[in-house]
């Protein structure tokens, strides 16, 4: 009787291992090229040329940057808490990576008559999972700032943590109104609903705007990058970090940008849906596998557009002051999200009767 419990579906296991590896590598690769794109777009917007020495168009720049970070001296402050000091960047990276587990990257592949979902785990509380993991991202910031044993790092970490926590509220409230429409927390179900109906951006424009602003705040991106503030406010919570530990923090930010782009396009822009095309009919005509690959490509195009938007905003809008940040979070976004929720409820009731 118990042997059946121990029997693992090895093929499924293998599927998932391969998928996890691919997605982890892909998010690292994308994060690498985000740094390149950030510098390039920043340069273009400021009428400069940007990195153009390493490889054609500076395409090898991320490798050079990574090598530089690896070669740097690792400084661990003598008075710091060593365990926490090392744990901080690891935790930041871990939480950044974990979110990708519930994002559906495409519909499914058919390999040898098997149905291979291109999603690591289709949990029915996917959205809650994302919120849980994202809120753990605070620990990376907080532990890093605390373990440095430097009062400026600690102040920056507290600033960052309070920012992330206050924007999480508005983010959650904006999602609730989306959930009232979808009736499901599973990201795959949400995408499928959008494939059949319209994208939720059209039903929830205000909710999307709030979610977008909060996503910027959650990723510690300009205009809300108070916790790091590269050049001012002495680097923020990773002031004492050097070498690859600093690299991990910076990298985790880019992975976060990638993942939140993925989540935003999943929730509001139809995820892997191919725009203007009925995917199911296309799959019947072309076969499932090519369509699944095309869907994944579509999803990545959407993600890249979102990433470019993140970069574009970063190089346009100046940083908020701390009181402005809190005012926007608590006095504007949360009331707006509640109004949005009430309006959504009103329209849902109107349709039911």
């Amino acid at each position: 009787m118990y042997t059946t419990l121990l029997a693992i579906d090895w093929v499924l296991f293998l599927d998932k291992v391969i998928l996890i590896t691919v997605i982890l590598l892909l998010s690292l690769l994308i994060a690498m090229y985000e740094t390149w794109a950030e510098r390039k777009v920043a340069a273009l917007m400021q009428d400069r040329r940007g990195p153009n020495r390493a490889g054609p168009g500076g395409i090898l720049q991320p490798l050079a940057d990574g090598l530089k970070l690896f070669m740097k001296e690792e400084v661990i402050p003598g008075s710091s808490n060593k365990l926490l000091f090392i744990l901080g960047p690891g935790l930041a990276m871990l939480t950044a990576m974990m979110t990708s587990a519930v994002v559906p990257w495409s519909s499914y592949l058919e390999i040898g008559g098997r149905h291979v979902d291109l999603q690591i785990a289709d949990v029915n509380i996917g959205l809650l999972y994302i919120f849980g993991v994202v809120s753990m991202g605070v620990y990376g910031v907080m532990i890093g700032g605390w373990a440095s044993n430097n009062k400026f790092s600690l102040l920056a970490a507290i600033r960052g943590a309070s920012q992330i926590i206050s924007y999480e509220l508005a983010m959650g409230l904006s999602i609730i109104s989306l959930l009232m429409i979808t009736g499901s927390l599973s990201l795959r179900t949400i995408v499928q609903q959008q494939q059949e109906g319209s994208y939720y951006i059209f039903l929830q424009p205000l909710g999307f705007l709030i979610f977008l602003v909060c996503a910027f705040a959650e990723c510690n991106r300009t205009p809300f990058d108070l916790s790091e503030a590269d050049s001012e406010l002495n680097m923020g919570f990773h002031l004492e970090y050097s070498s690859m530990k600093l690299g991990f923090y910076l990298f985790a930010e880019y992975v976060n940008v990638f993942i939140s782009s993925a989540v935003m396009s999943t929730l509001y822009f139809g995820g892997y849906d191919i725009p203007f095309v009925n995917d199911v009919q296309l799959a019947q005509r072309w076969g499932q596998n090519p369509v699944a690959i095309l869907e994944a490509a579509c999803f990545f195009v959407k993600i890249v557009l979102f990433i470019l938007f993140f970069i574009w905003v970063r190089w346009t809008i100046p940083r908020f002051r701390y009181d402005q940040l809190m005012k926007l979070g608590w006095k504007v976004l949360i009331p707006l999200a509640i109004i949005n929720m009430l309006l959504t409820g009103f329209f849902i009731l109107l349709r039911h009767h």
């Binding site: 273009l44 917007m45 009428d47 400069r48 574009w312 809008i317």
Partner: protein
């Protein structure tokens, strides 16, 4: 108060209306500006690949000249050292021995000729002072060095390549390739 320039602009201190307080239109405007800049022409010159030409009166490193037969023109008269406001030039003269007619143009020559490039202000007065057309300022500038000693340029660094044995180097040093 009388404005000092015609560009003075009164500050608008009216409270912002609802539209302005939303910030979103202003943000959209700002983002359109940055987007537009992506397609602007860049003023940057890709330096090592593309070099901007020097002005015709540019004064760079000194060159000790030779005549058409490859003989050093300098006679160690010392006028350049006298003219030099930074006192960067030192020299020692020597008399030409029989058999050295192919090396030096006149009976006296500079056995040692040094310019301290850290003192030199590249004013070009040495060039003007020289009666023999033996020194002029080229279009190159001093490369970086690790020691102060490296900036004291002797005859090896200053002398132009011999036009008979190295005509290309000579032409290049004269700036005739352009």
């Amino acid at each position: 108060m009388q404005p000092l320039t015609s560009r003075a602009k009164a500050v608008d201190r009216r409270p912002m209306n609802v539209w302005e307080r939303m910030y979103l239109p202003a943000i959209a405007k700002g983002m359109s500006i940055t987007f537009g800049h992506m397609f602007k022409k860049r003023p940057t010159v890709n330096y090592p690949e593309k070099q901007r030409p020097f002005s015709r009166v540019f004064r760079g490193l000194h060159v000790l000249n030779r005549d058409e037969e490859g003989r050093e023109r300098c006679t160690a008269c010392g006028l350049c050292a006298v003219a030099c406001p930074a006192e960067a030039i030192t020299m020692e003269g020597a008399e030409r021995l029989p058999g050295e007619e192919g090396l030096y143009r006149e009976e006296k020559y500079a056995a040692k000729y040094e310019i301290n490039m850290l003192r030199c202000i590249f004013c070009g007065l040495c060039e003007e002072a020289c009666p023999k057309d033996a020194i002029y300022l080229s279009e190159t500038f001093a490369p970086a060095n690790f020691t102060r000693k490296g900036f004291i340029y002797g005859k090896e660094e200053l002398l132009i390549p011999n036009p008979l044995t190295d005509p290309e180097g000579f032409a290049k040093a004269r700036g005739e390739h352009k």
